[in-house]
């Protein structure tokens, strides 16, 4: 009897503490649901509506998506985003990887190098934009001045559709390589030193060490960097807004810029939402492909 009572009490305490345990996640889950999960689904619904900021959303089915298919500016922004990703993303992986290998072994002034390579990362994107607008200034900027010194006549960066996106890519690289550099450095530090020592005894040169030891041991790190980095590069906006404002002739207008334009300049909330869902589907598709192929590649090594 008393054992039974004890059990009951125990159960009661347990179930009480289980409810108590939920209380710990309650504040977070509240904000998560109200300001994240719910808006995600609401955004999907909004993309099937016509909605000016004032008033109610009107359900219009697939109209926004159909309109997108015929929207030439949408294709332009999609193309610009892909150009940016194709130019920026590979460099944003390769440069930090090489730098991480270079600073991995002992070097005089390591802290200075780390500071110089990583510090731009902590500058806010609009300050980055202003700084580089000044750097790329056609007449008084440092870039064209030094280009002139080595015999190249610098272009009018932000007025020339051929060069505007390149300027944005260079700016983004300056801003972004620090982050990946840190992650690569950490990945390289985790590789057991014995592997290199064994390889050196076998007479392997540095290139062989990099190719057969460093790289295969970095597959996890590479997966993380390519997944998060690619998502990040598809989201490019702030630099563009400050540097070129989408110009010249829409040659730097990106998808997120177009979402911003539609939502907050033309107040076409439904249309803007449909663009953001297209962006999400692209990102999701690429992420899944990366997981599939990079994971397979990692297991092969």
């Amino acid at each position: 009897m008393s054992v039974n009572l004890k059990m009951k009490n125990f159960r009661y305490n347990r179930s009480f503490s289980v409810i108590g345990n939920y209380l710990y996640i309650l504040p977070f889950m509240f904000f998560f649901i109200v300001f994240f999960a719910f808006p995600v689904f609401q955004g999907l619904y909004i993309s099937f509506t016509e909605w000016r900021v004032a008033g109610q959303p009107i359900y219009v089915g697939l109209k926004n998506y159909i309109e997108l298919f015929h929207d030439r500016l949408f294709y332009t922004t999609l193309k610009n985003t892909l150009i940016y990703v194709l130019e920026f993303f590979p460099l944003s992986v390769i440069i930090p990887l090489l730098l991480a290998v270079a600073i991995n072994r002992y070097i005089i002034g390591l802290d200075f190098f780390k500071f110089a390579l990583v510090a731009p990362m902590v500058v806010s994107v609009s300050a980055v934009g202003l700084i580089w607008k000044w750097m790329f200034n056609t007449t008084f900027g440092l870039i064209n001045y030094y280009l002139e010194k080595v015999g190249i006549h610098g272009p009018n960066w932000f007025m020339d559709p051929k060069f505007a996106m390149l300027a944005i890519v260079l700016t983004s690289l300056w801003w972004g390589i620090g982050w990946n550099l840190i992650i690569f450095s950490a990945g390289i530090k985790n590789i057991p030193q014995e592997l290199y020592e064994a390889a050196q005894i076998d007479g392997a040169n540095r290139w062989a060490c990099f190719w057969y030891i460093t790289l295969p041991n970095l597959t996890q790190t590479l997966l993380f960097i390519t997944v998060t980095g690619l998502i990040g590069s598809f989201r490019v906006f702030g630099q563009v807004y400050v540097l070129t404002n989408g110009g010249p002739y829409d040659s730097t207008r990106t998808l997120v810029f177009y979402i911003y334009d539609n939502g907050f300049r033309y107040f076409k909330m439904g249309y803007a939402s449909s663009i953001s869902w297209i962006l999400f589907i692209i990102i999701l598709g690429i992420t899944l492909l990366q997981f599939k192929y990079l994971k397979g590649w990692g297991e092969q090594q």
Binding site: N21, F31, P39, V53, M135, A272, L279
Partner: protein, 288 residues
């Protein structure tokens, strides 16, 4: 003979590595230095050809003007924006630490039905681009009357999964024996969190605090969308407004002073907490 040859070739490789790194490091530093140099020149001497690295005259007039007078744009005063940025960053850090450590503790240590499933759902949102909620979140804040309100910047961020993830990863590394001993002594789970888990997690909490501060200080798209009034703007938003208000693009001394005001606090934080920041980014990357 062979040996000495290979030795000297190693030396050359080492020298090459150092030299290349030095060049890259200087290239990376030039924009920051040039920003500073431009900002301390008198406005009349900023537009010179060839560019001058050593100013003929040093002045802090640009900083003073940007800081205290709304001279550049209609209603933006940088001291006010500096206050907004600082206030929002501190409040966000404080609330994020509370909300995230409670949730991370539950996800790592406490048992309840659906725990791991909920955590997986939360975690999977890390790959969802924030732009997807830009419009609906704006409409929610609009209906709540939060446009031009600090609330719109503070509260939505508290639902972010990053902090919970970071702290959970760290809490998992704390040995369970410590809290089991406390539990036998009759400690409740909340007391265990306060007296055992949190004091042992100072480094992770500091990392999250620094990240959150930098993230909030530099946050651009969302504050840019919801803070439209000059008196409520944060520094990054105010900087971007130079364009919209037809700001005069030849006043580079003032523009660089403004960029400097926005960049000096994060760069100082980075200088003093460099190792902390680097090691915590590394942790997230490795365990991601």
């Amino acid at each position: 003979m062979r040996r000495s040859l290979s030795l000297s070739s190693i030396k050359w490789v080492e020298f090459g590595r150092f030299f290349l790194l030095l060049v890259v490091a200087l290239v990376m530093l030039v924009p920051l230095l040039w920003t500073f140099v431009t900002s301390i020149k008198p406005e009349a001497l900023t537009l010179t050809y060839p560019p001058r690295w050593i100013p003929e005259k040093i002045t802090f007039e640009n900083y003073r003007e940007v800081w205290s007078r709304a001279s550049l744009t209609a209603d933006i005063v940088f001291s006010r924006c500096f206050f907004n940025s600082t206030f929002l960053a501190i409040v966000t850090v404080f609330l994020t630490l509370i909300v995230a450590s409670l949730a991370a503790y539950a996800f790592s240590r406490l048992k309840f039905p659906g725990r791991d499933f909920i955590f997986m759902v939360v975690l999977s949102t890390l790959i969802v681009p924030g732009e997807i909620i830009l419009i609906p979140l704006f409409m929610i804040c609009y209906r709540l009357g939060w446009i031009n309100s600090y609330n719109a910047v503070i509260f939505p961020g508290l639902g972010g999964a990053f902090g919970v993830f970071l702290l959970r990863q760290f809490f998992l590394t704390i040995p369970k024996e410590l809290e089991e001993a406390a539990r036998i002594d009759g400690c409740g789970s909340f007391r265990i969190l306060i007296t055992i888990i949190l004091p042992l997690s100072k480094s992770a909490l500091a990392a999250l605090a620094i990240f959150t501060f930098l993230g909030s200080w530099n946050n651009f798209v969302w504050p840019f969308v919801v803070l439209l009034d000059g008196s409520k703007m944060t520094l990054p938003v105010a900087l971007a407004q130079f364009l919209n208000t037809g700001g005069n693009w030849s006043v580079y001394g003032k523009i660089m002073a403004a960029a400097g005001i926005a960049s000096i606090p994060p760069i100082l934080i980075f200088m003093f907490a460099q190792r902390q920041i680097i090691s915590s980014i590394a942790i997230t990357g490795l365990k991601g």
